[in-house]
Symmetry: C2
Subunit: 751 residues, 2 copies
């Protein structure tokens, strides 16, 4: 594990402050802290977010993930000059996020405006051993002059969500001339946050404290000789009570806890956290040998952020579309979680997949409410969720600045496929784990309540059932009838409800026959003779245009600068391809010819303006035994966050795209795919990859797969049935399989 | 008038960003705009404030002057590099606020990090012709290279008051692909603000608009050849409706108004505003010939800011302790207004003094409420006021960060002298104007209601009346009995109520005899044999300490780093000297020996930690014929904002100290003093001053006084009675008087 990669920022570039603040963010699932610099820059947006801490700043505001008071910022003055790397000369600069340990480390040699040189070293980590603990260390060494250093840092509650503030101070104190503590309450009085922090400075500094304008700060003053180093260690505990009051003794308990941490010291605390990271990497890491620089880093990056964003400590929280790295999408949870993130957990830490489904199950009441309010039965999960299960999608989209009118957000009203996506994930979880207890309680209820929604959602036309006025994943095509993705997934949802009800639910004849009737009558768009499945009833009737120029700017929605949304809706223009997505989700539906036909038809019509698009195209291409095409898509998918675009990650990481990096490697190139309750492995490694190896959980077994172009090695901690290149094999212990060039056969070499 | 001075900032210093943002703030009494730079710096706090627009961000928050959405900021990129004067090289820099016209002009030659040179010229003014109009012009000229320039600017509603946001967006639009308009409502829904703005760019630029995260912006893109200049003119209208709804047609009206402004163009609009400034300077300016550089500038600075802070358009607004230049003191109005600012207006534009008193009169209901709530009768004006007349003093002071306990703010509960200060100002206004109509309606009511308060405030002790548990202006001595300042001023208040009631109020025997009784029995601390008047009953019994080191840091409250407030209270330590202040306020009470005795006794015990302190000491010293001592105090008073301290003006100008610069020149050195209904002139010019000249209004006459060490010249637009160096003279037209060296005599030379 010593070769786990790092993300390096080699240049100090204000245009990329927010990009790297996102990419290098610290996270442990409980807390996320953007990697903003200690010293202030207007080009960086600070951010600290607690999983599940949402608040509505006003009646007409959407509920959003609260951007907490800042603890990262430090105002540093050397001989009266404010340290700012834009000023003076930056003689060297390097910042590195070590994925292996979660350490962020920045080293700079800076010449001040007055011509003095200093080495600045800034280190920090968010503990995975003690979720609430965040530690920073800053060291300053003057090269050739004596100097006086002032550092002011503490807790800055002027932080807002783009101007909106959610917290009131209820207590601000300094204990024993050392420890600062501030307790905050959301303005609705529902939740509380306590931040306790202290700074230790060496050599001994003059210290004072101030509390003004919502900033509680320690001011440290120190004189240094040339070559001498000032070190300031800052220890913070960030705690929250999401429902109700702060226990009376909480403040005192935090002081004691922080004091215990400080006794251990920075290095020991880092060691304890790093040990948790190490164990986790052993459980999850994908190792690749690639001719292309950056592939391993992309995989490490993706898994680092998966760990950072996943609230394993709290089943009432799920994963927002930006994780805990920014204010984007208000921290809300979308279908991305079940379809792009849950599968990663399912094959590495299946208990987390279960927990993510528990989150939905615990929020069934909200889904029932939403269904009822919209005139449907069963469970209609909210398009965007926070912690309560209520629909959190802003009622109104951004104002059309030309007309001055606001547009209703249609997704919450018509993008109903997420109901079936959740059901899909329930089944995927069960198939991969055989967790009867879950299926008997949460699973079957989720399947039946979501199925009940679809029964009520259908419209009868000439005796058949149709799903009208929906939006599929492709949001450039709105309000259509019989969207292929939605209809097939709804069908699957209902079929699985019927299937699992037989074993796990009390018999209910009436409901069963309703399910049967739905399945018998639901219209499923069929492939044309050339294999192409219509995306919806009217799709083929729409004109096409040349999309080359928009595809070149994929992700930027540049088409909307030339055409209105209404105009785009009336052409064969896709943000992402629904049918390709459908074929990815239900791989047993159609064979390779249909996959090829639809990939060939839809890809030229797809701009890939959604960050969910390319990775799925890549996996489907791999399943068509087109590994080079798949690899191109995968590489491009990796660039969504890791590419050069300076601002596309400003408001947070693309969580789903991170998941998709893993999906592409494991489900795409390694070809690991659950075909109902069979685990198939149909590799299609790109030329650039010599090998790929990764752990994989399946039905209670822990497997470790190592794949080259010629061979698959499997290690299993017990007997397990696999389907390698189409042939059923049982593995117990270690087995190597020869991979034929065509990918169409296999021969077992030994066990 | 061509020699009206400028304030120049010769060096770009981030440590002084907020100082100069305050000192160079634009203001027209309606609106104040901090002089922050167009480009962003973390070291500057943006601020735009509308007189009278206060709002409470939450139930437990104090009401504060709302910091409005920002219009000043511009994000400028040249060839992809963000313009930031800290980066690259600043080859020249100069910023100048022209007091004559209110123009702010910044010129810089900047070499970018990539080595290209540019001249940047930024100009702006807030119109005095059209209060709502703010204009900016930015010009960029590349010296030696082609370049691409992007400028993003518009309306940024992420602005907060130290993290607190007061406004909700109700409408955000772009009209005709040119004009941005945003309408905001205070969260309490009481008041509305509309900001309408447009940018004109030459040469022709590519323009687009965005509205995201509470920022409405125009993005302008332009390519320049070397030597070619990009000019962006930004025109903004900032309007408000302080009570109730925005009229339906308001948005359209603003568009039409802005359009009309843009047709006139930047230069013409500046001309119209400058003309108003010019006329105003003729009415108010003090011209000095001084050997000390900066004296004229200090006077121009003071008057500029007096114009900038005074809401002549709205009698429901008064002047906050920081004017409209910052968030300090939450924008609240204190006794500073009546005592330090109103007199300036009284002698230059007496109708404004009348209006400021009307503000108090209109808020009598609040003063009655406060009296009642505190168990008193009559009018107890709030210690801090906003627009409604309610007490706005925060209930709790800053948390004691050592104990964690909050302290009650005592001023609102015991600093009652402001009641008498308001009465004092009413009488001063009447004496200077003879405005019977005002006295008959507002004046006498204010006098009687404030007097009624004092009647109820007194405590009977051995047959005498005493005022117990008060705080005088000296806030380092709290909760004392018979504070000399308070008792004498209360006595004056009641005496004037009695005096003016005779002529202006309906006879009320009972009330009259109550007033008589109060005056007969009120204890007035008498001078000791050496002439020193005790500040309060226990003052002389307290110990003294050496204050040299604290006096050296006057204004910083450094004493509180060594002693607690409670300890300071038990020593003869003054923030400002109450008895000196008393002798300033009621100059007819005691002769020069008593003045000298008290100045000599109290000054060594006074740290001058209040910005109100030095100027008053200076005036009293001048009245003692100690012009050099007076001049030292005056010079030091000028340094409160104009001195070197980098941060003391960060949160706004010291409004009272600005007023005191004028007071020192006119009431101190020129010795103009209203002794009841006589205008006395007893000059005491310092050696450094060759002459001082200023307009002066008295009893309906406009005088212009020119003073040298030897001579006083008076011009009057009609017959007026003056007392020059103790001798009564009548002037009509022009008269010159010889000033004897001792200042004790006079001889008229001719009329």
């Amino acid at each position: 594990m010593s070769d786990i990669s790092s993300l390096v920022e080699a240049r100090f570039d204000p245009q990329r402050h927010n990009k790297y603040a996102t990419l290098m963010a610290a996270g442990n699932g409980y807390l996320g802290i953007r990697a903003t610099h200690e010293e202030g820059y207007t080009t960086q947006t600070r951010g600290m977010f607690l999983a599940g801490l949402y608040h509505r700043a006003g009646e007409e505001e959407p509920r959003e993930l609260v951007n907490l008071p800042d603890v990262v910022g430090m105002h540093i003055e050397i001989d009266g000059e404010i340290v700012n790397l834009l000023a003076g000369k930056l003689l060297s600069y390097r910042r590195e996020l070590r994925f292996a340990t979660g350490e962020l480390r920045r080293e700079a040699v800076w010449e001040s405006v007055s011509g003095q040189r200093y080495t600045l070293l800034c280190e920090r980590f968010l503990s995975r051993h003690n979720n609430a603990l965040f530690c920073q260390r800053i060291s300053i060494t003057p090269h050739n002059s004596e100097c006086c250093i002032n550092i002011a840092t503490g807790i800055d509650a002027t932080q807002t969500n783009a101007g909106r503030q959610h917290l009131d101070e209820t207590q601000v104190r300094v204990f024993d001339q050392q420890t600062m503590q501030a307790i905050y309450r959301t303005r609705s009085k529902d939740a509380h946050v306590a931040i306790t922090c202290a700074c230790l400075v060496s050599p001994r500094a003059q210290v004072s404290f101030s509390a003004k304008n919502r900033r509680l700060q320690q001011h440290s003053f120190c004189e240094l000789k040339p070559g001498e180093t000032l070190t300031l260690d800052k220890y913070c505990l960030i705690e929250r009570w999401l429902d109700g009051e702060v226990p009376k003794e909480a403040g005192q308990t935090s002081l004691a806890q922080l004091s215990a941490c400080m006794e251990q010291g920075y290095e020991a605390l880092l060691g304890a956290s790093a040990a948790v990271w190490q164990a986790w990497w052993r459980q999850c890491r994908v190792t690749v040998q690639s001719a292309t620089q950056g592939d391993q880093r992309a995989l490490d990056f993706a898994l680092y952020h998966l760990a950072a964003m996943t609230p394993v400590h709290d089943e009432r929280s799920s994963i927002g579309a930006k994780g805990l790295t920014g204010e984007g999408y208000k921290g809300h949870v979308f279908w991305d979680t079940e379809v792009f993130l849950l599968p990663v957990h399912l094959y590495t830490q299946p208990e987390i997949a279960r927990q993510l489904l528990r989150y939905r199950w615990l929020n069934l009441a909200g889904a029932h409410n939403k269904a009822q309010q919209n005139g449907f039965a069963g469970a209609l999960f909210p398009w965007e969720s926070g912690r309560t299960g209520e629909e959190e999608t802003p009622a109104w989209a951004a104002i059309n600045i030309r007309t001055g009118l606001r547009q209703k957000v249609a997704s919450a009203l018509a993008e109903h496929h997420l109901v079936a996506d959740i059901a899909w994930a329930v089944v995927a979880y069960y198939q991969a784990t055989g967790d009867d207890a879950f299926m008997a309680k949460e699973g079957v209820e989720l399947l039946r309540e979501t199925a009940r929604f679809w029964l009520s959602r259908a419209t009868e036309v000439d005796g058949a059932l149709e799903l009208h006025d929906v939006i599929g994943p492709d949001e450039y095509t709105e309000h259509v009838n019989n969207n292929a993705y939605t209809n097939y997934l709804a069908c699957y949802n209902v079929a699985m409800a019927r299937h699992f009800s037989k074993r796990f639910a009390k018999p209910d004849e009436a409901f069963s026959s309703q399910l049967d009737d739905f399945l018998a009558r639901l219209r499923l768009p069929q492939p044309r003779p050339d294999g192409v499945i219509p995306q919806d009833d009217t799709f083929f009737s729409k004109p096409t245009i040349d999309l080359t120029r928009y595809k070149a700017n994929a992700g930027s929605q540049s088409i909307l600068l030339d055409y209105s949304r209404a105009e785009v809706n009336e052409m064969q223009i896709l943000k992402q391809a629904d049918v390709v997505m459908l074929l990815y989700m239900l791989p047993w539906l159609y064979g390779e010819p249909v996959l090829r036909a639809n990939l060939a038809y839809y890809e030229p019509r797809t701009i890939h303006d959604s960050s969910l698009s390319k990775a799925i195209h890549g996996i489907v291409a791999a399943r068509c035994h087109e590994p080079e095409q798949a690899y191109r898509f995968w590489r491009e998918g990796c660039q969504i966050d890791l590419g050069d675009a300076p601002h596309s990650s400003d408001d947070g990481i693309h969580a789903a795209a991170s998941g998709a990096i893993w999906l592409g490697a494991v489900q795409g190139f390694a070809g690991v795919v659950a075909m109902q309750d069979e685990l198939h492995i149909n590799p299609a490694l790109p030329k650039a990859w010599t090998s790929v190896a990764f752990p994989c959980c399946w039905r209670g077994r822990k497997l470790y797969l190592t794949l080259t172009h010629q061979q698959l090695s499997v290690e299993s901690d017990g007997p397990v049935m696999l389907h390698v290149c189409g042939k059923a094999v049982e593995v117990d212990g270690r087995a190597d399989f020869f991979i034929p060039a065509s990918g169409s056969g296999t021969s077992q070499e030994g066990i």
